[in-house]
């Protein structure tokens, strides 16, 4: 009986591992191939390179239109940092109001916030573009970053509301008795307690901003302002042909590195974030 269970478990493990390997194969292949000489990438589908070289990294790093990937990475990083600051401040403020304060219109606005959660972004696209164009913002990072300071990512407001609602009311009451204002409660009590949810917010803001392509395609017009995701697109020509596959795979590999590092160092925040809100990931 016992050995029967053990056999079943071993088989399950084997199955899970093989399926996982199959799924990861493309990514592993990409990483390995980025280290192969350009002419051997496609003649050799195996995972162990016959010859290892970093020439792809050197040629890919040259970038596009005289701007190197050093600039693209710096741009992406800067954009992500500002986006995180914006989302953490604005979303936590809105969430505090929804979760912990009583005011007339709360239910009404909360309903609206939940509706915007499901609203396809495309319906606001053209007017936003026209508006940002009138402001002279097209070509800068403002059309991408200003909305972050206005809590437009309703997913995070929702995530933080869920989290803040679960915090015990007593701590807050004690602080108010001690003469703490509503602003003081937010800053000294709610924010420190909500750190796990704020980390999740920061994480997903980073990933989504890093991976975002559509907004970068619309608003970034000059190569020296390109982000990594916008710059990777330049490897693919207009007809879909790629001239420097080695360079493309090398830079693609570098571009997924931050996500990897963050995921493996902060895995529990990912799982928490996804399972409490059903984030689309």
């Amino acid at each position: 009986m016992l050995s029967n269970v053990r056999v079943r478990h071993t088989l399950t493990h084997l199955f899970i591992i093989s399926l996982g390997l199959l799924m990861l194969y493309p990514v592993v292949w990409m990483i390995v191939s980025s280290l192969k000489p350009n002419n051997m990438i496609f003649s050799d589908p195996g995972l162990i390179p016959k010859e290892v070289t970093i020439e792809n990294y050197i040629s890919g790093w040259q970038g596009y239109a005289g701007t190197t990937f050093g600039t693209f990475f710096a741009n992406s990083l800067l954009m992500c940092v500002i986006a995180i600051i914006g989302n953490v401040i604005s979303c936590s403020m809105a969430a505090y109001a929804f979760a912990r304060l009583k005011f007339s219109g709360r239910t009404f606005f909360f309903t609206i916030m939940m509706v915007t959660l499901m609203l396809p972004g495309h319906v606001t696209l053209v007017p936003r573009y026209i508006m940002f164009n009138t402001f002279g913002w097209v070509g800068s990072y403002l059309p991408i970053l200003v909305p972050k300071f206005l809590a437009t990512d309703a997913f995070f407001v929702f995530l933080l509301v869920q989290f803040m609602r679960s915090l015990p009311k007593e701590i807050e009451d004690a602080a108010i008795v001690d003469g703490c204002s509503k602003i003081g409660v937010y800053w000294r009590i709610i924010i420190p307690l909500a750190v796990p949810a704020l980390v999740t917010t920061a994480l997903f803001t980073f990933l989504w901003t890093w991976d975002d392509f559509f907004n970068h395609l619309l608003y970034l017009t000059r190569p020296d302002t390109y982000t990594v995701s916008r710059a990777l697109r330049t490897f693919v020509g207009d007809a879909g042909a790629v001239s420097n596959w080695g360079g493309a795979l090398a830079m693609a590999t570098l571009s997924i590195l931050p996500a990897f590092v963050l995921f493996f160092s902060l895995q529990k925040y990912f799982v928490q974030g996804i399972s409490t809100t059903g984030l689309k990931g």
């Binding site: 007339s104 396809p120 790629v242 799982v271 990931g281």
Partner: protein, 338 residues
């Protein structure tokens, strides 16, 4: 007799409050809350509500942002341009005397998108549920396995993976190398073949089942083991247990995931854009709705038309969300014993 206890300070405050006009009183009472809500409220009004109404207005015009001064009101012409072919119309004249050709690719893009949504979403959810159940067996190394299966989702939305996908499914790509080893010959270039191009995109989407899997896994852990034990005692086999316990108890989670996935699938853009090389692919076989909208609005500057397309997309998504929620009353169960 009861003497009401009064607090002079509070009385004074109330006195002042009643003397103030209503709007001040409102802010005195709720000001702090609205202070916290201000960024969101401003964002909602300026970046969501106003643009939505604005784009509805634009959808009745021929707005072109390179020449905004020549904008004309053209009524329902943009909508006719989309759906004209349904009525057998290929071109028509607007009230302003402009001759408009019915968009020959609109219906195609709608078809591509519907196929994509209706194939990729169910497959993704089935896969996610299957893997979640596989992992929900008190196995050692669960968090490691969960991480492995989440990696495609973690990376899948990036341009890097779209570029990789293009390479995998090309005629001399990795997939064909493997199929060649297995003895298949005469293999197509999957991306460049109009019959298979959409399939590769669907596969790319299904591959990213990770976040649905994590949600399902969290849901499965909520189901008490006693239910299964009791069912086993009563002689219910695994299949019966799945349909009588797992599915009903997981149905609220499935509903939620289904809605989220449908909404995001209708809006898919990036992967189709890269794999199609900035266009709709071979014979427009991967001309997603949003991609078509982008090309109309930003390549041809037909922003009035793009706005109309956006509103139709909003209505389509709204309709599907509504239908799924309405249908939930007969397939979603809240609580046991229903």
């Amino acid at each position: 007799m009861e003497i009401p206890i009064t607090d002079p300070a509070k009385d004074k405050k109330r006195l002042i409050a009643t003397k103030m006009p209503g709007i001040f009183r409102f802010f005195q009472r709720h000001g702090i809350a609205y202070l916290f809500l201000a960024p969101w409220l401003l964002g909602f009004i300026v970046l969501t509500l106003y643009p939505m109404l604005y784009s509805l207005g634009l959808s009745f015009t021929d707005y072109d942002f390179t020449q905004p001064d020549s904008t004309q009101f053209i009524g329902l012409a943009n909508y006719m341009k989309m759906f004209g072919s349904v009525f057998g119309v290929s071109e028509f004249t607007t009230s302003t005397g402009e001759l408009i050709r019915v968009d020959p690719y609109y219906m195609k893009s709608l078809g591509v998108t519907f196929t994509y949504v209706f194939v990729s979403v169910p497959l993704k959810l089935i896969f996610a549920l299957a893997v979640a159940m596989l992992l929900n067996q008190k196995l050692r190394g669960l968090s490691f396995y969960r991480a492995i299966y989440y990696i495609p989702t973690l990376l899948g939305g990036s341009i890097a993976i779209a570029v990789l996908w293009r390479k995998l499914f090309e005629k001399d790509g990795l997939v064909n190398d493997f199929l060649g080893i297995l003895g298949f010959t005469d293999l197509p270039g999957w991306i460049t073949n109009p019959n298979f191009a959409l399939g590769t995109l669907i596969l790319l989407t299904v591959w990213q089942f990770g976040s649905s899997m994590i949600i399902f896994l969290a849901g499965l852990k909520q189901i008490p083991q006693e239910y299964y034990d009791a069912a086993s005692v009563d002689g219910a086999n695994q299949g019966r247990q799945f349909f009588s316990i797992t599915l009903p108890l997981l149905s609220p989670v499935i509903l939620f995931t289904l809605v989220i996935q449908i909404i995001s699938a209708f809006q898919a853009f990036t992967q189709a854009y890269i794999i199609g090389g900035g266009r709709g692919g071979v014979l427009n076989s991967t001309l997603f709705y949003t991609l078509h909208m982008y090309i109309q609005g930003w390549t041809y500057h037909e922003m009035g038309y793009a706005s109309a397309m956006a509103w139709v997309l909003l209505l389509i998504i709204g309709a599907f969300t509504f239908v799924v929620f309405r249908s939930s009353s007969w397939w979603v169960s809240y609580g046991v014993g229903e």
